[in-house]
């Protein structure tokens, strides 16, 4: 977040010049940009494009307990959706899993957005000196620099059946038997994911809020808008890019999550990521690949829709 604190300092003075014609005039021989871009292009080709191609290809292959066989088949997709038509109107496991993943996605998105926006708003508009802004910002970010695994398991002594929360509630006489649903439950997963990823909302939203010209707010106030109107009519629309970037991030992370749902859900909550992971564990690569292709398609459709709303390159 070093970069962010710099942005704080520079955002104001540079706002005027940051109007987006950063792509400067051409200089030097035409070959130079290609050479400069080549390493990055190569990395993405070898470690991103080709792997995705391999995934798509393998999703049509056959497999045995100990090997994958390059013979084209639709069996894997058939296996995934096998009982889906038969079981209607009941949902089959695949649809249930996607729905459950989507449910977590939406809930966590709503939570992180609400909390993230509130915190970013507080930091951007209510903390007045740069110094305090940086300090508060750092306070928010410090926990995010420690291992996500550690942050996840640090909830366990609090939420367990004999954990601190239950013990406290019992000793206060509020409940008599321990609450079961605190750990290894949907609640634990949502809590933990919110804990893990709120910062990904705070940073881009804060960034957007800092670029709002304060005179716009003054103008709105002069024109007789109340606080709520300023928020909904001026601030939120202007913060849209930050909200979208944060949302894309949170949604994609949660869609593919398997670790948090595994650990906090007691290994018994379904998610698409977890299915892929278990299938890989049992060397059912083609089946996992088919699931990955479906997940990929689902995520890309969602993100494409979101991206239609914002030009990331201009908004940075």
């Amino acid at each position: 977040m070093t970069e962010a604190s710099d942005t704080l300092a520079e955002a104001r003075q540079d706002r005027a010049s940051a109007t987006g014609h950063g792509t400067a005039r051409r200089t030097g021989p035409m070959l130079v940009p290609y050479l400069q871009a080549a390493p990055m292009a190569l990395v993405f080709l070898i470690f991103f494009v080709l792997p995705l191609a391999a995934t798509v290809a393998v999703s049509f292959w056959q497999y045995t307990q100990y090997s994958i066989v390059p013979a084209i088949t639709l069996e894997n997709y058939n296996d995934i959706f096998q009982d889906c038509l038969r079981d209607l109107p009941d949902l089959c496991t695949t649809f249930r899993t996607y729905l459950s993943t989507l449910k977590f996605c939406l809930i966590v998105w709503a939570m992180t957005l609400t909390i993230g926006f509130t915190i970013a708003y507080f930091l951007a508009f209510h903390v007045r000196t740069l110094k305090f802004q940086v300090i508060c910002f750092l306070l928010c970010t410090v926990p995010f620099w420690t291992s996500i695994v550690i942050r996840m398991i640090s909830w366990i002594p609090l939420l367990g059946r004999n954990g601190l929360v239950n013990e406290t509630l019992i000793s206060m006489g509020i409940i008599h038997t321990p609450l079961e649903g605190l750990l290894y439950s949907d609640f634990a997963v949502i809590l933990s994911l919110t804990h893990l990823y709120t910062l990904f909302m705070v940073v881009p939203i804060f960034n957007s809020l800092m670029r709002i010209d304060r005179t716009l707010i003054e103008a709105a106030r002069d024109a007789g808008a109340n606080g709520f109107q300023i928020l909904t009519v001026v601030i939120i629309p202007l913060a849209r890019p930050g909200i979208l970037i944060g949302s894309i991030f949170v949604i994609t992370v949660v869609m593919g999550d398997f670790l948090t749902m595994g650990i906090m859900g007691g290994q018994q909550i379904a998610s698409v990521g977890k299915i892929i992971q278990t299938q890989m564990q049992f060397l059912q690569f083609p089946l996992a690949a088919a699931n990955a292709v479906i997940l990929l398609a689902a995520v890309l459709v969602g993100v494409w829709a979101l991206l239609k709303l914002v030009d990331i390159r201009k908004e940075l």
Binding site: T2, E3, G22, F47, F48, A54, S147, I153, P157, M280
Partner: protein
């Protein structure tokens, strides 16, 4: 601005404090539990007060053997950091010009960020598995002894693992470079050129010093994203574990507070690291301000 705070300030400040509690509460709880004495358990109440579990962790003879994973993760993160900075700056410079495929590269970079990590991980694992099979077939067909007896897998922290991490750090690096060059005033470079500097000299003496603080930003990003990366690493590290993978494996297998001691220790390490980086950045900025 007036000094009187609106009521909304106090409400929001309260929410901010609650958020801080939410963030730090669990961390404090494991901090407390990690300082238990030898007969402490995994749950409250805290039993005794000692540094027993830290000593055990340090001695490396307990249930948590993380030494090799820690070293591996550290070296990997350093390599990722250097590559991320270099590749991102180069690409950032490229994007200041028009070139064919620029838009495509940008979209690929952004997709790399938003494609679920497990999918990327699976893809790289599959790709390398196919490569392995090809190498082994080759070894069998040509009867190359070394391949048959010694070749294990092309998968490893510094092949597939490194690549997986770069697909995660490079998009961030590139986006930061966009942010930098969007606000970059080319007048300084023009001045240098007018004074007869070669492109390399211009870059070395004008551009680089101006973007240096952001490069540290990218470096910090690159290092920490790699250091803490788990989902993308999960399938691609071969037989070696990185630290987060080792931690994830240990979460469910360690039966004593040593795991909390480890958590507290890594947290302290990260905090120190941030403080160090911030000092460095503010020093550079101060120097730069003096120079300008």
């Amino acid at each position: 601005m007036t000094d009187r705070r609106p009521r909304s300030f106090y409400v929001l400040f309260g929410i901010f404090l609650l958020f801080m509690m939410f963030l730090y509460g669990p961390m404090i709880s494991i901090l407390l539990l990690s300082f238990q004495s030898a007969d402490g358990g995994l749950v409250f109440p805290v039993r005794g007060l000692s540094t027993y579990w830290f000593e055990k962790l340090w001695a490396g003879d307990g249930q948590v053997a993380i030494g090799p994973a820690l070293r591996r993760s550290f070296v990997l993160a350093l390599v990722v950091m250097v590559l991320t900075v270099t590749i991102s700056v180069l690409a950032g410079l490229a994007f200041r010009h028009r070139f064919r495929g620029a838009t495509l590269l940008l979209y690929v970079a952004i997709s790399s960020l938003i494609v679920p990590s497990i999918v990327v991980s699976l893809g790289i694992a599959l790709e390398f598995r196919l490569i392995d099979d090809a190498i082994k077939d080759l070894g069998a067909a040509w009867n190359i002894g070394w391949i048959q007896s010694n070749f294990v897998s092309a998968l490893g922290p510094f092949t597939s693992g490194l690549g997986a991490h770069l697909t995660w750090t490079l998009p961030f690096g590139l986006l930061i470079m966009f942010a930098v060059f969007n606000r970059f005033d080319p007048a300084f470079e023009e001045a240098a050129r007018d004074l007869g500097a070669t492109p390399l000299q211009t870059f070395r003496h004008v551009t680089l010093p101006m973007i240096a603080p952001f490069l540290i930003g990218i470096a910090v990003f690159g290092f920490t994203l790699s250091w803490d990366e788990l989902a993308r690493s999960s399938q691609v590290m071969g037989s070696d574990n990185t630290l987060p993978m080792q931690l994830a494996a240990k979460t469910t297998t360690v039966t004593d507070p040593e795991i909390y001691a480890l958590g507290s220790a890594t947290t302290a390490g990260s905090v120190l690291f941030i403080i160090l980086m911030f000092t460095l950045v503010s020093l550079i900025q101060r120097r730069r301000r003096r120079l300008l």
